[in-house]
């Protein structure tokens, strides 16, 4: 049996006295799409940032395809090259054109030639309907377009795993769909993804598994049908009840 795409075991993380992650165990098989749901502050974002080594962890371990990335002496940059992350606030580089945003990683971290990096970028841009935006600066794009560019920027590194951190939370409602569509396409292609989201309808459609995070603990996990249809834990029921009341499911 091949190693899991991602294996998280006993992960703990504190900010000062506040323990944000209190022993997380989670495994993703290849091509699996796992959605993390839970209230703000439940630790979803921190978990993703830990997997990308943007936050040092306090205890536990993270293993990617059989290689532990949380031991000493790991080449942090090499690990990150294999993981794409997309942020809630896009974090595009405002002083660079769309094309330069996308080619920066491939050129500097993968040491691709300018020509090769631009070819790769152009292919992705046209695939996601952004070909005419290649020379634009991020500020001139809509939020939805910016987030799609951010996804393309991550994909240009040809990662084996994508982490999406509430990528539609900063968008106007009418722009959410175009971004979710891109993620659906990625899921259909078999991209392994760990997605923190507040879009429950989307999670139900796209996820192979849904995990409910509550106060730093992975309280419940199951298929979308199990979690959304018949949640076992009272906290999960409560959370989903509120979502339904807010008209978001």
């Amino acid at each position: 049996m091949s190693a899991a795409a991602l294996e998280i075991a006993g992960l703990r993380k504190s900010f000062g006295k506040l323990e944000v992650l209190r022993g997380i165990d989670l495994t993703l098989a290849e091509h699996e799409v796992v959605c993390l749901i839970g209230a703000s502050g439940s630790g979803k974002s921190t978990l993703l940032r830990c997997v990308n080594l943007l936050e040092p962890i306090d205890a536990g371990r993270i293993v990617i395809r059989g290689e532990e990335i949380t031991t000493r002496g790991v080449d942090v940059n090499a690990v990150r090259r294999g993981i794409g992350i997309v942020f809630q606030s896009f974090n595009l580089f405002p002083h660079m054109s769309v094309l330069d945003n996308i080619t920066l990683g491939p050129r500097k971290a993968l040491e691709l030639s300018k020509v090769a990096a631009e070819a790769r970028a152009d292919e992705l841009l046209s695939r996601f309907g952004l070909a005419d935006k290649r020379e634009e600066y991020p500020d001139r794009l809509s939020g939805g377009q910016q987030q799609r560019v951010a996804i393309v920027r991550a994909l240009a590194m040809q990662p084996g795993l994508m982490l999406l951190d509430e990528v539609t939370s900063a968008l106007d409602p009418e722009l959410v769909a175009e971004v979710l569509q891109v993620i659906r396409e990625l899921a259909n292609e078999g991209m392994t993804m760990l997605i923190a989201t507040h879009e429950m309808g989307f999670a139900r459609d796209v996820a192979s598994r849904v995990c409910f995070l509550d106060a730093g603990v992975l309280l419940e996990e199951g298929t979308p049908a199990e979690i959304f249809g018949a949640p076992r834990e009272p906290r999960t029921q409560q959370f989903l009840q509120r979502i339904v009341e807010a008209g978001r499911l």
Partner: protein, 207 residues
């Protein structure tokens, strides 16, 4: 003018290096950071004129072999040392003003700390600090007059010579006009650079 131009080039580079050293993360680089802090504290604390006296008269007086004795050289070195301390603080403020999420985005692509600084953080930081940088350079342009104390003939020194010869003080006014005439174009150039940058990045928002 020559003094100013030579000094400015060195200051721009040297000050950025100091600012970058001060931003290095982790306990390993503590000594480097501490050294940078001491340097900045020292040269911001000592009056420029004292630095010029110490280096311009003191060092050549030591008579060390292989050490230059030209006053112009030590005048420029003094200005570079003093102004780099100020300018490095300006750079550092610029670097700190770039949101950490920008560095995080760069690092998440697998770029090293140095690459993230070079391609993402510093270009944005420098754009933001152009106005205060210019401010310091106008100060520098005026302080080149202090190098005259070492016997180097620059505009101010020349005007003193002229005044001494004729007891007519208009050369001072002429010199003052020269200094203003030199700083104004730089101010307008900076305004233009900032405006161009804004236009390029934000034109779409207004449309």
């Amino acid at each position: 003018m020559k003094i100013f131009l030579i000094a400015e080039v060195f200051i721009l580079v040297f000050a950025l290096a100091i600012a970058v050293l001060r931003s290095l993360p982790g306990p390993v680089f503590f000594p480097v950071r501490a050294l940078a802090v001491v340097y900045v504290d020292l040269f911001r604390g000592i009056p420029t004129i004292l630095v010029i006296y110490i280096l311009g008269f003191g060092v050549p007086a030591l008579g060390l072999p292989g050490v230059p004795v030209e006053p112009l050289f030590w005048g420029v070195v003094s200005l570079v040392l003093v102004y780099s301390a100020y300018v490095s603080e300006v750079y550092r403020a610029g670097i700190d003003s770039v949101h950490p999420s920008q560095a995080a985005a760069a690092r998440s692509l697998g770029l090293t700390h140095g690459q993230a600084l070079r391609f993402v953080v510093i270009p944005q930081a420098v754009r933001r600090v152009i106005p205060p940088l210019l401010n310091d350079f106008i100060g520098l342009q005026k302080d080149t007059a202090l190098v005259a104390l070492l016997g180097v003939v620059e505009a101010f020194r020349q005007s003193q010579i002229d005044v001494a010869g004729s007891f007519n003080y208009t050369p001072y006014i002429a010199t003052a006009i020269i200094f203003v005439a030199l700083t104004v174009p730089m101010a307008r150039l900076t305004d233009w650079l900032i405006a161009r940058d804004k236009r390029r990045q934000q034109a779409g928002r207004l449309a």
